[in-house]
């Protein structure tokens, strides 16, 4: 665990981010051309790039802002990574915010849930991307979902809905397009409590706002001044250094993609 993980950028797009992260984590990371871990831009065929990096000997891959590639391709990557003992981590919007991992069971230990209200906003280039990112967030922090249904999807937003597998709680998955930065406002609304998490821009080292309301008052969770980029590279370093194969993110991405493929509604 004491050795630094060598890292390299798979493309120019992620190079400045990786350079900044590596410079700020000098004990954990060092840059090298024949690196053990590779940063990949998720805007293109990131599965092919990840497979190429693995074939070149990478033991860890971090995909930054992955788009929703076909499930078959992601399955191939998962199977290859598993066989080679490679960790693949996906740094999607919102879900990797480090503060979320300090919330404990605030989002999952809940009384009878009336609604899980997941409102995304901001400007996104790819119409599918907000829903994919929302699903990754919900799958990681709420749990598995079923019956994804879309009422509307266009450049100005989407309106979709689903329910949790665990307790059939209704989930509203909404994206309101606007000129602002991507933002996610999640509310888990129960009769006797509500947890609200507001994730704004997560590239800067800004804490999110997380509050639990109950009958006695409101409790704000401690702020964590950390970036999602640094957090995911800490995780990848830990996995590579310990020889762990971590494919949880990829499993969530597969689940999200399958849910989108099976999505009902006129706007598919």
């Amino acid at each position: 665990m004491s050795d630094a993980t060598s890292v390299r950028a798979g493309s120019a797009h992620v190079a400045p981010m990786l350079a900044a992260v590596a410079a700020s984590l000098p004990i954990s990371l060092r840059t090298a051309s024949d690196a053990a871990a590779v940063a990949i831009d998720g805007g293109g065929d990131w599965v092919a790039e990840a497979l190429a990096a693995i074939s070149e000997g990478a033991r860890g891959v971090a995909v930054h802002h992955p788009c929703a590639l076909p499930g078959d391709a992601m399955e191939q990557l998962r199977d290859t990574a598993h066989a080679r003992g490679v960790s693949v981590m996906l740094r999607a919007s919102w879900e990797q915010h480090p503060s979320l991992f300090s919330l404990g069971d605030a989002l999952t230990a809940r009384d009878e849930v009336n609604l899980i209200d997941c409102l995304a906003s901001g400007n996104r280039a790819q119409p599918w991307s907000p829903l994919f990112d929302q699903l990754l967030f919900v799958l990681r922090h709420i749990g598995p979902i079923a019956h994804l249904t879309c009422d509307y999807m266009a450049a100005n937003g989407h309106i979709a809905r689903a329910e949790t597998v665990a307790d059939r709680a209704p989930i509203a998955l909404t994206w309101a397009a606007d000129g602002g930065l991507p933002k996610l406002d999640l509310r888990v609304v129960s009769r006797a409590s509500m947890v609200q998490v507001l994730v704004e821009e997560d590239e800067r080292w800004l804490p999110l706002r997380a509050v639990r309301f109950d009958e006695r008052g409101e409790h704000g969770f401690a702020p964590e001044w950390e970036s999602a980029d640094r957090a995911i590279w800490r995780r990848l370093h830990k996995a590579v250094a310990s020889g762990e194969t971590n494919l949880d993110d990829l499993e969530h991405a597969l689940h999200a993609r399958r849910a989108i493929d099976a999505m009902r509604g006129p706007a598919r």
């Binding site: 249904t149 509307y152 309106i159 000129g179 609304v189 006797a192 509500m194 309301f213």
Partner: protein, 281 residues
């Protein structure tokens, strides 16, 4: 007595409003909704026009000084909104009623509803729209160019009281989400998402005199805020009636506006009831 306030159950509004007009009252504040049917609403409007009676429908957010300020400063942006969203999260009404006044007695809590029954879901969401969403539906109507074409895409009644309502009108999306609960969260906002940013109007809860809404506009390069004013929508309604009757002020809400607001609310309620009766999936 110059002005009558009608805050009886909706089914009595038309009869009482017509009686007040016939009795020569100069102004009537009718609690929302204006009536139960379009015919009743038309009868009130016709009689009021003929008699020259000022009519105000008590959807208090229409008169909220914060909302008026939002229109004054951000109307063009808000009318260009591609996505409009109402968010309401409130404790039960008695929490605020008991702060605003003294209630002599209340009936017991309503019996739990069986939301497995389609007609129960339809009735619940209709009640939610005509009782709660209706405060903001006139605002939404002002922002939606093709409001007459409103289409309810899906609707869900939330227990014990609330709704998720997904709609579109032309290319504009409208989502209304409301929940009542036992915890302390209080939120009542209307967000207008548009190409340049977001305008958010944050209203104060019903009943209490906590001032008007405040208004925030946020874009990629900064934000502005219009602070809350002292009067809330309730007070502004009465101030406006006074201004109309004494100073001949131009009505904020004409009789035609009131009829259009009524039609819009009924369209939404009918569509929501139809969708809520269906299974959510």
């Amino acid at each position: 007595m110059d002005v009558v306030a009608i805050s009886s159950p909706s089914q009595f509004h038309a009869e009482q409003a017509l009686a007040a007009i016939a009795a020569g009252k100069r102004g009537i504040l009718i609690e929302k909704p204006l009536a139960v049917t379009r015919e009743e609403a038309d009868a009130i409007a016709d009689a009021a026009r003929e008699a020259g009676t000022a009519i105000i429908v008590g959807a208090m957010h229409v008169f909220d000084p914060g909302w008026r300020a939002a229109l004054e400063h951000h109307a063009e942006k808000m009318r260009g909104a591609s996505f409009i969203r109402q968010t309401v999260a409130l404790p039960p009404n008695p929490v605020f009623e008991d702060r605003a006044t003294e209630i002599a007695s209340r009936g017991g809590p309503p019996p739990p509803r069986d939301y497995s029954q389609p007609d129960v879901r339809a009735a619940a969401i209709r009640g939610g729209i005509l009782g709660l969403a209706i405060h903001d539906l006139p605002l939404v109507r002002q922002l939606v160019a093709d409001w007459a074409e409103i289409e309810v895409l899906s609707a869900r009644a939330l227990a014990p009281f609330g709704y998720v309502l997904n709609m579109r009108a032309g290319s504009q999306l409208i989502q209304m989400v409301a929940s009542f609960h036992r915890h302390c969260a209080v939120a009542w906002s209307l967000e207008c998402h548009e190409q340049d940013g977001v305008t958010t109007v944050n209203f104060t809860p019903s009943y209490v005199h906590a001032g008007s809404a405040d208004v925030a506009w946020a874009g990629p390069d900064g934000s502005t805020t219009i602070r809350s004013r002292r009067s809330n929508g309730y007070e502004a309604e009465w101030e406006h009636i006074y201004a109309m009757l004494v100073n001949n002020a131009v009505p904020i809400q004409s009789i035609d506006d009131a009829l259009d607001d009524f039609s819009f609310a009924m369209q939404v309620a009918d569509g929501a009831a139809r969708e809520a009766a269906k299974d959510w999936f």
